[in-house]
Symmetry: C2
Subunit: 139 residues, 2 copies
Amino acid sequence: MIGRLNHIGVATPSIDESVKMYRELLGATSVTEKWAMPEQGVWVCFVNLPNSQIELIEPYGEASPIHAFLAKNPKGGQHHVCFEVENIHEARDALVAKGATVLGEPRIGAHGTLIIFVHPKDMGGMLVELMESPKDAHH
Amino acid sequence: MIGRLNHIGVATPSIDESVKMYRELLGATSVTEKWAMPEQGVWVCFVNLPNSQIELIEPYGEASPIHAFLAKNPKGGQHHVCFEVENIHEARDALVAKGATVLGEPRIGAHGTLIIFVHPKDMGGMLVELMESPKDAHH
């Protein structure tokens, strides 16, 4: 079922500060602009690597789900891992049939394709995002 | 400086149980055998994805550094992220020159090339492994 490791999601109190760190300390050279996803309560920004991406996530608004994560991890840290799948509804149904807890209905994610999240209790303590592979091309 | 996202390191109380989860719930089809790295206090095993890998890490021996992580995260979870670099000594020197805390001297990692770890306090709360790209080929 799972295909490419599309990205790792990293929470941060400040995308601007994190981008500075990735550029200046780790020498990253390709970083997108940040943009808001109000319906998910996050600002996002991607650090592009040759084979994958780092998604930087900063809270947007008072109800952001990232506030609780940052309360426990004030400097930020690894928030989730995203794997690509061919079809999100088939993936969701297969997981539910095997007893996994899928969080919410498929919705549009940061790459414009459908995503779901799977509860860490079923995923070895790791929050897992599944996203449909973009239909245009891999990057 | 940083190149490919070589792997994400995921701690687990049981590699066997984790492999079962990746195979049965997430449909992973390519998983290596596990092997011990006594000098690092870990059992390791890799789940191969088309563009990257998941490194499963289980404690080996009483002094394993993974015991403390699992005490805080009994189900396991994301432990580190590994980026490739061309030259580990140059990467280490550049990071130290910029004030980052590099943990220990370059040593041979699970892929047979030199690795270092960089302290999470300098990396946005994330433990970062840097490894020299294997010289043979990318996989």
